[in-house]
């Protein structure tokens, strides 16, 4: 926000040249610099001092500002990264707007890199002159302030979403947790045991699920989907679609009578289609909320005329065929995106027969086969005939690390879960043979490599370095053709079952949601972080935070850490009374704007939109980060960065270059 500022002709600028002991004065003739500038238009006083950053130095600046009624100052000293804040604070104490302070870097970028005193002094004069040119054109600015709604929306009820919701709620803020499926738990609840400790996945996740459902500050919305999001950081308006469950969660007492009489049999998603459920069902015994859900797509018709058997037997009268989709509206200040991942389809790798042969399964299907709560009760049986397989071939990198045909990235968790699969298989079937095809074994993680070594040495899993070319059926066996790249020989293995470590990909259909949120993704459809090193849990779009595999392949500890980090960032945001944002943004001059919209395409933050009614661009200053890409692209000079306008840049260039 700009505040009333004097015209450049009326500005009184003070110049303070620092000796920095001999650091500057040893090379640059500081007195000469102060002297050379004293008659420059706009400069009303100039002086030098041994250490400007010292207490007496700062006091001198404060006193001089007051005494000489200065409207702006230039401190010619070290790099602005060191003492810009120091001098801004001093100026504030003297009653000067901090955006009227200029730091001329004559140490790091001059006296420390040049030895010719004459040249360094001349250069210092030019540097300082350019700052005078800028200073007389600087506007008084105030940080942009905006209120924050201290409630968060978490999208996704997998382990990342649960952790983020719990942490934010424990910070003392309200959370709305939206999950599209009937129960929370995500992919993790489907896993058998987790590497490298072999904890039972359900045993460690269900307490968290219960905690979420009982937390007084978490509003759990399962079987809901985010419909639209508007607004900006601190002030989002969210429309959430409630899908009809046809069962009242509060009335359902889980007696299960409805399920017994339902005539419709459907593949069970929780068991990856390896078993069946009814059209009215509970996804798994520990599902939260504990309620049955009637699957509309598979029900005979939601009408007592068509069937209605479940309704007839429901004692608490929980079933209601007339439930309709409804929309809920919520206001939140921050949004955590924890939408998870899916597996690359086996169809894409037709040569491995995943779609053709029942006994070729993906990693998640094998998790269900290993799980005590799975379709086989934890006994390893192959899907086709229920026999215990005596030879299992595991294929890593199915789709991952294939720049030519599939996905270029590493899915990160497959090396470890394949080792786990092979190990658990050997524990369950001690006389069985486990063979793993791998490109590299990547075990970067705490206690990961030890786990892999155990798989090889103690559990005698055979690792073959190489790729599989084809899987086909001969009798009731699967023949796996591959190559051992260490010996250069072809390999043929007879297997009873083949497990494909399919790559992790973005959640199916998530792009529609991300489009509604208007947040950016990488080329693979994973949500992009604001900065790969410095802002890894924030989206580029202010107010959005990332957790878990929505951001890219991750194992559980990483997903949980990221969720906690995202929650901490939400906490940072909510701890502020109001949001304060740098005012050096790029507004639009409506009178000059032609409405071409070029700047809209330049902005990576979605801060600029074309207002069709006015025919000019509208800027949301709170979203603008002040890079200035739009200002450089604007063909009519309507987009000008505050305190770095084109006029300022041109005048600085004149001061530096015109002899």
């Amino acid at each position: 926000m700009t505040v009333k500022t004097k015209k450049k002709e009326d500005k009184r600028i003070g110049l303070f040249v620092c000796h920095c002991g001999v650091n500057i004065a040893g090379v640059v003739d500081v007195k000469k610099v102060a002297e050379a500038l004293k008659d420059t238009p706009g400069v009303s006083m100039s002086t030098d001092y041994v250490y400007m950053c010292s207490d007496p130095g700062q006091q001198m600046i404060i006193d001089t500002i007051k005494e000489k009624h200065l409207d702006g100052i230039i401190v010619a000293a070290c790099s602005p990264t060191l003492h810009e804040k120091t001098f801004q604070e001093a100026a504030r104490l003297a009653g000067l707007n901090p955006y009227q302070i200029e730091i001329a870097n004559i140490r790091e970028q001059n006296s420390w890199v040049h030895s010719d005193k004459d040249k360094a002094t001349k250069k210092a004069v030019k540097i300082v002159k350019s700052h005078v040119a800028k200073a007389i054109r600087n506007e008084n600015l105030e940080p942009i302030k905006v209120d924050v709604k201290k409630r968060a929306l978490v999208i996704g009820g997998g382990v990342s979403g649960l952790q983020a919701a719990l942490d934010i709620a424990d910070h003392g803020y309200e959370v709305i947790l939206v999950e599209k499926n009937p129960s929370i738990g995500g992919k993790m609840i489907q896993l058998s045991e987790t590497f490298p400790t072999l904890d039972c996945s359900q045993c460690i996740l269900t307490p968290k699920m219960v905690e979420v459902s009982r937390h007084p500050r978490i509003k759990l919305l399962t079987y809901h989907e985010v419909d639209s999001v508007s607004g900006f950081i601190g002030n989002f308006k969210v429309r959430i679609k409630k899908k009809p469950r046809f069962v009242d969660e509060k009335l359902c007492n889980l007696c299960g009578e409805c399920e017994k009489v339902c005539p419709q049999i459907v593949p069970d998603e929780f068991n990856m289609g390896l078993s069946f459920r009814k059209a009215i069902y509970m996804p798994f015994p520990q599902a939260i909320p504990g309620t049955y859900t009637l699957d509309e797509d598979h029900c005979l018709g939601l009408s007592p005329v068509r069937c209605g058997k479940c309704k007839d037997v429901c004692e608490p009268r929980a079933i209601d065929f007339d439930m309709k989709e409804t929309i809920i509206e919520e206001e939140v200040g921050a949004i955590v995106v924890a939408t998870g991942y899916d597996l690359y389809t086996m169809q894409a790798l037709g040569e491995f027969g995943g779609e053709k042969y029942e006994d070729v399964v993906n990693g998640l299907e094998f998790e269900r086969i290993l799980s005590a709560s799975g379709p086989t009760g934890g006994v390893v049986r192959r899907p086709s005939d229920g026999k215990v397989p005596k030879s299992v071939v595991f294929v890593q990198c199915c789709g991952s690390r294939d720049t030519e045909k599939h996905l270029p990235y590493c899915s990160k968790i497959c090396c470890m879960y394949t080792a786990k699969h092979a190990m658990l298989y050997r524990h369950r079937v001690p006389d069985g043979q486990a063979t793993v095809f791998y490109i590299d074994v990547r075990t970067g993680g705490k206690a990961f490599d030890e786990f892999y070594q155990r798989t090889v040495e103690e559990d005698k899993v055979l690792y073959i370095r190489g790729k599989v070319s084809k899987v086909f059926k001969e009798g009731d066996k699967l023949i796996v053709w591959g190559v051992d790249t260490l010996t250069g020989k072809k390999v043929e293995i007879e297997a009873d079952m083949v497990v494909l470590a399919m790559a992790m990909v973005k959640t199916d259909g998530v792009q529609d949601l991300l489009k509604k949120l208007k947040i950016s993704t990488d080329i693979h459809g994973f949500v992009a972080e604001a900065h790969p090193k410095l802002r890894p849990v924030e989206s580029l779009n202010a107010g959005f935070f990332l957790a878990g595999c929505a951001h890219g392949p991750k194992d559980i500890p990483e997903a949980v850490s990221q969720a906690s980090a995202a929650a901490a960032k939400v906490g940072d945001l909510f701890a502020q009374k109001e949001l304060s944002h740098e005012p050096t943004v790029v507004p639009v001059n409506d009178e000059l704007c032609s409405g071409c919209g070029i700047c809209v395409t330049m902005c990576p933050y979605g801060a600029r939109t074309l207002d069709p009614s006015k025919g000019v661009v509208d800027v949301n200053e709170i979203l603008c980060e002040g890079c200035g890409a739009c200002a450089a692209a604007c063909p009519c000079g309507a987009a000008q960065q505050r305190n770095q306008t084109d006029d300022q840049i041109f005048s600085m260039l004149r001061a530096m270059l015109r002899e």
Binding site: S79, V113, T584, A629
Partner: protein
């Protein structure tokens, strides 16, 4: 010997930090260059560059973050595209495109910064002074106070 004047636009996050690092590491280099710190290399408008030439710069240097490291995510890519196009235009205006140089110098590359300054200055010295007297077009393209 001809002493060229070189105008450098440095992005705040990477190349200006590299210039500071060259300073703290006392990596002496030629004094022919003078720096302007901008928030991002993408803030630099070709107009600014042309204006620098008009005001007496014999060479113009533009420094940004390495691809993928931009503080504003993709500003450096925008600069890359803009400069590639602008160099063609420079040639049409009669200015040798070698007088404009774009480099990615990270905050850790003080040495690269100092070496680049020396090397670019030598290159401009070899090209000789920029004479815009017969280049009325440039004067027309850039505005003046």
């Amino acid at each position: 010997m001809f002493e060229p004047q070189i105008m450098c636009f440095l992005c705040k996050w990477c190349t200006s930090a590299a210039a500071d690092l060259a300073g703290t590491s006392r990596l002496h280099h030629v004094a022919n260059t003078i720096n302007m710190r901008v928030m991002c290399s993408s803030r630099v408008d070709p107009q600014h560059i042309l204006y620098a030439f008009k005001e007496g710069a014999d060479g113009v240097f533009l420094g940004g973050c390495h691809p993928g490291d931009c503080h504003y995510v993709e500003g450096n890519y925008k600069t890359l595209r803009r400069i590639a196009l602008f160099k063609k235009m420079l040639a049409d205006l009669g200015i040798d495109p070698r007088r404009l140089r774009l480099e990615w110098i990270s905050a850790a590359e003080g040495k690269k910064y100092a070496e680049t300054m020396n090397e670019f200055t030598e290159q401009i010295r070899a090209l000789g002074p920029l004479d815009l007297n017969d280049k009325a077009l440039v004067r027309e393209v850039v505005k003046d106070e």
